[in-house]
Amino acid sequence: MSDKKQNAIPQTVPVQSSTFSQTVNAEIRRAAATGIYDIRGGGAKRKVPHFDDLLFLGASISRYPLEGYREKCETKVTLGTRFAKNPIEIDIPITIAGMSFGSLSGGAKEALGRGASMAGTSTTTGDGGMTVEERGHSSKLVYQYLPSRYGMNPDDLRKADAIEVVVGQGAKPGGGGMLLGQKISDRVAKMRNLPKGIDQRSACRHPDWTGPDDLEIKILELREITGWRVPIYVKVGGARPYFDTTLAVKAGADVVVLDGMQGGTAATQDVFIEHVGQPILACIREAVRALQDLDMHREVQLIVSGGVRNGADVAKCMALGADAVSIGTAALIALGDNDPRWEAEYQKLGTTAGAYDDWHEGKDPAGITTQDPELMKRFDPVEGGRRLNNYLKVMTLEAQTIARACGKSHVHNLEPEDLCALTLEAAAMAKVPLAGTDWWPGKPGTSY
């Protein structure tokens, strides 16, 4: 080795900027090349305080557990008890969130209906109207009433088991829907009364009402058209959960559906998904507080969604005061979305299993988020339904396991006192004690 090399001055190690990370720089280059913002499906991918930041305490000397496998732990939920003649009764506290025909294939909608019906729960339509597939295979179907009113008609409205007035969703509170031209097939175009192949952008607000006073009258109209038979849900994104819940209840909602920022969408701007709205963890207690302040907790049911993945998440939502949860992304994964078996094809699309989110392009190798006839053939709705049913069953068993360990004979008997938080942020949002303490930020009676 030469003396020169031996005495070389140590070099600075190349340092990647945290601010201008490789991901950020790649997006800048993509934007510079195309002149259009990034559009994708799914929910927020950034790490936010979530259910993993909470733990159950379980039973101890002061709490008596139920026998884990044999003692009864009820999971039935009745939704719409406030005004509807026919409330919806579901066997498990997990429902399937609204996902449109158009964003999903007809087969995928059928599979959701099959799986949910086997598990004794409901599915929800989504933008674009009601399809024969989902009505035919869903024993309980919630019909979404959206700003676009695509496919809206009184006949389908009366076929529904509940109506969900969609004000917003967690992935994009304040934003409308989007379905790009690749997925506007003949059938989708006909259902939506739009030219084939256009990049369809639906409105962000309803065309014939503004504000809570109008919403009350709109709900009256929907009840009159359906003879006060079915429950009316109001769905809001996780923006201002206390006030939105209060106003939804005052407008006459039977059920409030609250969707946090991890909740998925078929397609919207990435900047919207990642920068607008709150994590569901920060929303639940505020919504429950609103219901309690109105003396409506359990009278108006609360369904929460946005990143619910397993029975522990379900149990945590119940403990925080929700009546049921709703799943979308998790249900699609159960059907086979982002499955590693299609890895070679994901690679061809420039992505990898687990990260594929260009659902709007209609090239889904799993045949779920597409309208391509060849890709759709890959998806078996019967098998998909079986898988979804299994998954829902596992989630329910998990939630029951935890509830029994906390000594509860119904998952609704779980309560905030059963929880502690691993982080200050989660403690503040969930309003449960930081682990090892009896304190959380903002706890009444504390000055800091």
Partner: protein
């Protein structure tokens, strides 16, 4: 003619009576008295019956109507004939905002003026307004015909798809992607038919046609690479 007193009967019972009529009903003519601006009058009707409302209505009169011929002998509040599928709704007076919103079919005739957002997101309905219409009318209008015998307010036809707009008077401004278009013979025929149906003596040749420039149908992407 069966007369229904809304104040005596209540909204639910009144709507139930109308909604219970079928294609085969012999009771074709109905009169509603004492509406007093109530909301959701005669919504969700699905039968070939004639309903006359004696007085003015609140929100959503005739909402989601199918087949019925609803006549308001007064003015109508917001969202009259919203999401109508078929049949006719005729307003003798003025209509508030969102008249005919998202209508899929049928004909809405407003003999007075219509406020803002008339025909918003219309999906096949025909709307004829004898007077003027307010701002943001025919916003995101997908299909159908909007005929205005008077003037139109600001931002007419903003983000319009394939609906046809016919205006006889002045248009304060056009919305994004809405342009004046050539009036061809087939458009004059459509217009003549609609004016006749609406009992309007205006001449089709006096109107201008507006529609989509179709420049917003797809995102603009720089494909230079």
């Amino acid at each position: 003619m069966e007369k229904l007193d809304l104040q005596a009967l209540g909204l639910r019972a009144l709507n139930e009576k109308l909604q219970n009529q079928t294609d085969e009903t012999n009771q074709k003519d109905w009169e509603i008295i004492n509406p007093r601006g109530s909301h959701a009058i005669a919504v969700g009707v699905d039968a070939p019956i004639n309903v006359t409302v004696r007085g003015s209505t609140g929100y959503y009169c005739g909402g989601m109507n199918k087949q019925a011929h609803i006549h308001v002998d007064g003015s109508a509040g917001p969202g009259v004939a919203e999401n109508m599928m078929s049949g006719t709704v005729t307003i003798d007076g003025d209509a508030s905002q969102y008249a005919g919103a998202t209508g899929h079919g049928g004909t809405l005739v407003i003999k007075g003026n219509a406020a803002s957002r008339c025909g918003i997101s219309m999906k096949g309905i025909d709307i004829v307004v004898h007077g003027n219409i307010g701002h943001m009318s025919a916003f995101m209008a997908q299909s159908g015909n909007l005929v205005v015998c008077g003037d139109a307010g600001d931002a007419l036809g903003d983000s319009i798809y394939e609906a046809r707009l016919f205006v006889r008077g002045a248009v304060k401004s056009l919305g994004a992607d809405c342009i004046e278009k050539e009036m061809r013979p087939e458009h004059l025929d459509i217009l003549r038919d609609l004016l006749e149906k609406a009992g309007c003596d205006a001449k089709p040749e006096e109107f201008k046609r507006y529609g989509s420039a179709r420049q917003l149908y797809n995102f603009k992407i720089d494909n230079a690479y």
